[in-house]
């Protein structure tokens, strides 16, 4: 068969390559960034181009508390990861649950915001360009938060059933990459929608 290895055994090569999980997740993050970039460009391009109201300054409030929650969840997930790396599974589960709670709070705040926009201000995705770009960009981010929460919850359930130990630390870290990405995207969305666009 493969004679190559058989004929070149004399040299021993130090050979370590990066882990597949980390590289694969980085690839996913790059591709998702490109996807978000287009929604962000569309948002920026259409700022101030709505023909009818409501307009952003009239109806948008700064989601300060929700933002603090989502960004601090990046911290709690790192605390959880560190605990798992040290084998303290109980602490890991606790901080993991806190992360999920913060994410759920963020989604809830988005839901309340959307409820008010739709029912009090009459802004839907079909109202004007602001509605179109706002719901698609913020909604697309919220969709990613939701996917992240589903994955986090699966890990929590597995942890409670005793199936997650220190040997899973790298996989948990890879999942953490995704969660950090979702948070980082929110920084961009927040800046574009609530700071520049208001």
């Amino acid at each position: 068969m493969s004679q190559t290895a058989a004929t070149l055994p004399e040299q021993h090569i130090e050979w370590t390559l990066p882990s597949r999980g980390r590289v694969g997740m980085c690839g996913l993050i790059v591709t998702e960034s490109a996807l978000f970039a287009i929604f962000v460009v569309a948002y920026l391009f259409y700022i101030g181009k709505s023909l009818i109201g409501p307009y952003p300054p009239e109806v948008l409030e700064l989601p300060v508390l929700a933002t603090i929650c989502l960004l601090s969840s990046s911290g709690t997930i790192m605390v959880a990861e560190r605990a798992l790396g040290q084998g303290r599974v109980g602490t890991f589960g606790l901080w993991w649950a806190v992360t999920i709670g913060l994410g759920v709070f963020f989604l809830g705040a988005t839901a309340v915001e959307w409820y008010e926009l739709i029912y009090q201000h009459g802004l839907t995705i079909a109202t004007n360009l602001f509605g179109t770009t706002f719901y698609s960009l913020v909604g697309f981010h919220a969709f990613h938060v939701t996917v992240g929460l589903i994955m986090l919850t699966i890990v929590l359930v597995l942890t409670m059933r005793g199936a997650v130990g220190a040997e899973a630390a790298e996989r948990i870290e890879v999942l953490g990459f995704y969660w950090h990405f979702v948070d980082a995207v929110w920084v961009v969305v927040f800046t574009v929608v609530y700071v520049i666009g208001r």
């Binding site: 068969m1 493969s2 004679q3 190559t4 290895a5 058989a6 004929t7 070149l8 055994p9 040299q11 090569i13 050979w15 390559l17 990066p18 882990s19 597949r20 590289v23 694969g24 690839g27 996913l28 790059v30 591709t31 998702e32 490109a34 996807l35 970039a37 287009i38 929604f39 569309a42 391009f45 259409y46 181009k49 709505s50 023909l51 995705i125 079909a126 004007n128 360009l129 509605g131 179109t132 770009t133 719901y135 698609s136 697309f140």
Partner: protein, 559 residues
């Protein structure tokens, strides 16, 4: 891959004949990169025949002025389906299929990094393709309007708006391409991860075969440029189903924004399709010239340059929409810039052949055809990059001729070269030489007959996508020649199909390394076992098999 991938090679006991259902089950459930690669290529070839027949009907319609073989509505559907199919269901699966098959073998790995994700990518592509063609029977939706998509392969707004595209034909176009796009992204992440994480010991980046290098760049490009199309298509879906206003000009939306989003994907996509062709040529030309590739580092640098610059040229498809002078100038210059690394590649291939002992085998013949025809494609490309020239010829048959010289004269010829080159590896049989030569010469003749005159038609003012034309324009002769060429191309493809089927049954046995080549895929059996390599190879140079065959004069002493 035989259906008994588990049987150890070398064990000569013939296994009992496996029932057809079990064999099909094996193919449907497989996560083996070689089987998935073959399925990609085979389904790509099926779609190739379908899209080729669509083109044939269009050419017959254009054979004579005021022809009425198909009505104008059907003609619109034909060119939409032809373009969409050729790009997304022929080009993409064949290049991804070859990458699937070859990248792990060339870097001495046993599979891609994520085999199950790989299977997901393939099935997403296949069912995306099925979805596109389901539109022919399902496209009516509830409205009784339209069947197959008829908005052109770049689906400009406002044609795709609800008011102008009633029924569901456009929705099928969106969903099919969206689903297939997710599959391509998944497979590209897989290829990138494989190249970074799975190389065999000793294979540093500067020792990777050029094929792997170029597919690595292609995979990065797909990761970066496929999402803009997906995002734009999601926006279009929101427009069509939820009443969003992205591309609705009456509500202040912009039709030009769609053009930007589409071509941010659409132009790099041309390089995504073309670079794998370059990649195959970069493996075949050295082996058939009996010389290592000329200027390996420059080839890598040129590939990276094409990838980077190629992502900043998209608006040269939009010179006629009325961009600013600065925009026109920028995109014209960026486009001309791409000609430099591409020219570097052409000269490197010529430099490889210079002074070599050239063997005119089938793969080399197709590569030579590619060099000449791709040169013409490149020259007309630089012509069209000049914005004022483009104003004159945009949306004319000159453009049609240009990109068919790229995608057939360039890409298809190198894909056929690659298929003949790696056919022995994948099947264990040699492709028939005589039929292969018929295939080559008929295709050269037919292709140039069909698309050469279209340059002239474009200069004479014939717009693309018209379903017929008046008899007094002086276009008849060139259209007749163009249609006659199709007959030769069909004959050529028939030669290929017959050759493949015949060689599978009765071809000469190929052995491990029929071309006396140098990269790792030729060090294992033909076809390779499911695990590719019994022990992972260790390499010290760019041509590990050369080192093996010539221990007295190995490459690693000089690299």
């Amino acid at each position: 891959m035989s259906s008994m991938g588990q049987a150890l090679p070398g064990s000569h006991a013939t296994p009992a004949r496996v029932p057809l259902t079990l064999r099909l089950h094996g193919w449907a459930m497989t996560v083996d990169h070689k089987r998935l690669g073959i399925m990609y290529i085979a389904s790509g070839l099926v779609f190739f025949v379908i899209a080729g027949l669509e083109a044939t009907v269009m050419r017959l319609q254009l054979l004579a002025p005021h022809n009425d073989i198909v009505p104008p509505e059907t003609f619109n559907r034909l060119f939409t389906m032809h373009g969409t199919t050729m790009v997304f269901l022929v080009g993409m699966p064949i290049i991804l299929g070859m990458a699937n098959y070859l990248v792990p073998l060339m870097i001495g790995a046993r599979d891609l990094a994520f085999p199950r994700l790989n299977a997901l990518g393939f099935w997403l592509f296949l069912f995306g393709g099925v979805l596109l063609y389901f539109s022919v029977i399902g496209g009516d939706g509830l409205y009784g309007a339209g069947t197959a998509p008829d908005v052109g392969w770049f689906a400009y707004a406002p044609l795709t708006g609800r008011a102008f595209s009633r029924g569901h034909s456009t929705d099928y176009w969106i969903l099919s391409v969206l689903v297939g796009g997710f599959g391509s992204i998944a497979t590209s992440i897989n290829i990138v991860t494989t190249v970074i994480c799975m190389r065999c010991p000793g294979m540093t980046l500067d020792k990777m075969p050029l094929y792997v290098w170029m597919l690595f760049i292609v995979a990065w490009m797909v990761i970066l440029v496929m999402p803009p199309l997906s995002a734009a298509q999601i926006m279009l879906l929101l427009d069509r189903f939820l009443g969003a206003k992205f591309f609705d000009t009456q509500a202040g939306g912009s039709a030009v924004l769609w053009q930007h989003f589409f071509w941010i994907f659409g132009h790099p996509e041309v390089y995504v399709l073309m670079l794998p062709g370059f990649a195959a040529a970069s493996e075949i030309i050295p082996v058939f010239s009996r010389k290592p590739i000329f200027g390996y580092p420059m080839m890598v640098a040129a590939t990276v340059a094409i990838g980077v610059v190629g992502m900043g040229v998209w608006a040269h498809h939009m010179f006629t929409v009325g961009m600013s002078a600065a925009g026109n100038t920028f995109f014209a210059m960026a486009t001309m810039l791409v000609a430099i690394p591409t020219g570097v590649k052409l000269f490197n291939w010529l430099g490889t052949m210079w002074g070599g002992k050239i063997r005119f085998g089938l793969p080399m013949l197709f590569c030579l055809g590619f060099l000449f025809q791709f040169l013409i494609a490149g020259l007309t490309g630089v012509m069209l990059a000049a914005a004022p020239f483009d104003w004159q010829l945009s949306d004319s048959y000159f453009v049609v001729a240009h990109f068919h010289y790229v995608l057939i004269g360039g890409l298809l010829f190198t894909l056929f070269a690659g298929m003949y080159y790696w056919f022995p590896k994948a099947t264990g049989k040699m492709p028939g030489e005589r039929l292969g030569r018929w295939h080559f010469w008929l295709l050269v003749l037919g292709f140039n007959l069909t698309f050469g005159p279209q340059h002239i038609l474009g200069i004479l003012g014939m717009p693309r996508r018209v379903y017929t034309y008046a008899p007094d324009r002086g276009w008849e002769l060139w259209n007749e020649i163009s249609t006659v060429g199709v007959a030769f191309q069909i004959a050529a493809v028939l030669c290929f199909v017959v050759n493949v089927l015949w060689s599978l049954r009765a071809g000469e046995s190929a052995g491990e390394d029929p071309w006396d080549a140098w990269t790792l895929e030729w060090s294992t059996t033909s076809p390779p076992p499911a695990y590719n390599f019994e022990t992972l190879p260790v390499v010290r140079s760019r041509r590990p098999l050369w080192d093996l065959k010539h221990p007295e004069d190995p490459d690693w002493k000089y690299e």
